[in-house]
C-alpha cells in the first residue's frame, strides 16, 4: 500500500465517520462542527487528486464562509429549549425503509459497474491546477460559466425582495 492509498483510506474513514456523527448529534452546534470535519476530509481528497484550486476553494468557501454563517444563525436562534418536535414512529420507520432502498439501489449499481481503472488520476494529474482550470472554464465551459451569473443575479434580487423592509 502506497502512501497515497493509506491517505485515501484515512480521509475516507474520516469523511464517513464525521458525516455520521454530524447527523446523529442532538445539538446543532456539534452537528455543524462535525460538518466542518467532513469538509476538511473531502478537501483532502481533492488534494490527493492534485486539484489544488478545488482544495483551497472548498476550504475557504465551505469550511470558512458557509460554516461561520451556519454558526452565526445557530447563535441567533434560541437553542436552550428542546425545540425539536417529537417525530412520528411510523414516519421514522418509513424514512428508514426508503433510505435503505436507496442505499440498496446505489450499492447494486456500483457493485457491477466497470469503472475504468484510471478514472482518478492521483498525484500526477494536472487538470486541477489553476491555469488548466481557467483554460477549461473560459474556453470549453464559457457559456455555462456566464449563464450561471444569471442564477446568482436572480438569487441576489431575491435576497433584496425578501429582505427589504416594507
Amino acid at each position: 500500500m502506497s502512501i497515497t492509498q493509506i491517505l485515501f483510506w484515512v480521509l475516507t474513514a474520516m469523511a464517513i465517520g464525521s458525516s455520521l456523527m454530524m447527523i446523529t448529534r442532538k445539538n446543532p452546534v456539534y452537528s455543524v462542527l462535525w460538518l466542518i470535519m467532513t469538509f476538511f476530509a473531502i478537501s483532502g481528497h481533492y488534494l490527493l487528486m492534485n486539484a489544488q484550486f478545488l482544495f483551497i476553494v472548498n476550504l475557504i468557501v465551505y469550511t470558512g464562509a458557509i460554516m461561520v454563517l451556519f454558526l452565526y444563525v445557530l447563535m441567533l436562534i434560541d437553542l436552550r429549549h428542546d425545540t425539536e418536535p417529537r417525530k412520528n414512529k411510523w414516519l421514522k420507520f418509513a424514512g428508514a425503509v426508503a433510505g435503505g432502498c436507496l442505499l440498496l439501489v446505489i450499492v447494486a449499481a456500483l457493485k457491477d459497474s466497470d469503472i475504468k481503472s484510471n478514472v482518478v488520476q492521483t498525484g500526477e494529474g494536472d487538470i486541477g491546477l489553476i491555469a488548466n482550470l481557467g483554460k477549461a472554464l473560459f474556453n470549453e465551459y464559457v457559456v455555462p460559466f456566464e449563464i450561471s451569473s444569471i442564477l446568482f443575479l436572480s438569487a441576489m434580487v431575491g435576497a433584496v425582495v425578501i429582505g427589504k423592509k416594507e
Binding site: 459497474s113 478514472v119 449563464i147 431575491g158
Partner: protein, 458 residues
Amino acid sequence: MNALLISAVMGVLMMFSSFMLKSKSAVRNVALAGMFLILVANILDTYGWHLFNIPTEGMMHFDRFSLFFNSIAFACTFIFFLLSARDMEKVGINYAEYFSLIFFILCGIVLVASFQSLLILFLGIEIISIPLYILTGSDKRNLKSNEASLKYFLLGSFSTGIMLMGITLLYGHAGSFDITVLIKAGEKPSSLAIAGLLMLLFAMAFKVSAAPFHFWTPDVYDGAPTVFTSFMATIVKAAAFIGFMRLFSTAFYSLHDQWQMVIAIITALTLLIGNITAVFQQSIKRMLAYSSISQAGFMMLALFALNGTATEGLFLYVAAYSLATIGVFAVLIKMKDYTFEGFNGFARHHPFLAAVNTVFLLSLAGIPLTAGFLAKFYMLKAAVEAGGFLWLVIFAVLMAAVSVYYYFRVIQAMYFKEGDAPVSMEVSRPFQWVLGVLAFLIILLGVFPNALLYWFYF
C-alpha cells in the same frame, strides 16, 4: 440564443427601472415591451435571423423543437402580463423586481428547452426554481405564503440534490455530460446508468409535480400569491415538461423499454390522485392546484408514448392548458371569495366574464370544440399508437370523466345558483377584450389545431 440574451438583459433592465421609473404603469409598459421584443426575437431566430452568434461547444442546440416551444411560452407569458400584470402591484412594493425575476425564469425556460448537456439542464432548472421560491414567498405578511415558500425551497433543494446525484452517476457511466455521448453509452446499459436515469426521472417528476412527488404542489400553489400561482402552474410547468421530454426522448431513448413501465405507473398514479383529490376541494384555488396535477398526468402520456403524435400533442396540450389556466386564474384574482360559493350568481352580474370562464373550464375538462379536447385526444392517440398499455388509455379516459365533475361545479355555481358573487376590484374593458381573445384562441385551436402545429414544421 436571441431570446436567452434579451430576456437576461430585460431582467437587468427591470432592476434599473425599479428606481429610475417613478410610476408603476411605466414599469409595466417596459415589461410588456420587453416581453414582446423577446417573442419577436425568438420568432426571428426560428427563421434564421440570429442576432448573436455564440459558439456553445455543443452544449445547447436551438432546433425547431426548442424554438417552437419558446415561442409558445413567450406568447403565453405576454398574455399573462396583459391580463395580470396590474394585479402584481398588490402583492408587495417590489413591483419591478417581480418582473425581473420572471424574466430570469424565462432565461431558465430557454435553457431547459434547448439543452444538449446535462450541465445546462441543471443550470436551467436552478434558474427556474430559485426565482420561483422567492415569488412564492413575496407576500411577506401572509403566513401561508411564507410557509409555502419555505416548504417549496426545502423540497426543491432536496430534489435538486437527487438530480445532481443522478447526473453524477450518469457521468460515471458515460464519462461526459453530453447527450450525444449518453445516447451512444445507452446502447450498453449498466446498472450505474439505470440508477442515474431513475434519479433524474424522480427529480424531473418532482418538478412537474407528478405523483408520488406531488405533495408540495397544493400547499405551494395555494400559499403563493394568486398571480404567481398562475405563472407557476402554467408556463413553468410546461417548460419542465419540455425539458423532461427532451431528456428522455434523446438521451434515454435507447433505454425506453427500461423506464416505460415506471412512467406508466407514475402517469396512472398522477391521474388518480390529482383527479380524486380535486373532487373534495372547497377552494377553487386549491382545486386548480390539484387539477394541474391531473393535467400533468395527461402530459405524462406524451413521455410514455414518445412518438411523433406525442410531440405534436404535447405542444398542443401545453398551449391549451396554459391559455385556459391563465384565463381561469385571471378571473379568479378578481374575486373576493375563492370558494365555490364565491362564484354563486356570477353570470348575472358579469355575464361576459362568466361566459369566457366557462370556455376555459370546458377546455380544461376536455369538451369537444375546445383546444383541451383535441389536446387530450392527441395524447390518448399517441398512447394507443405506442401499443401494449391499453389499460392506461382506458384509465386516462375514466379520469378525464371524473375531472368534468369539479370543473362543472364552477359553471354550476356561476349559472344556476343564487348569490351576488362579490368582486374585489374593478374589471376594466381592455382586460375583458384580452380574455375574449383568449377564449377565441382556445376555440380556434379546438377547431383547427393545425393553426398552431403548422408552425412546428414550416
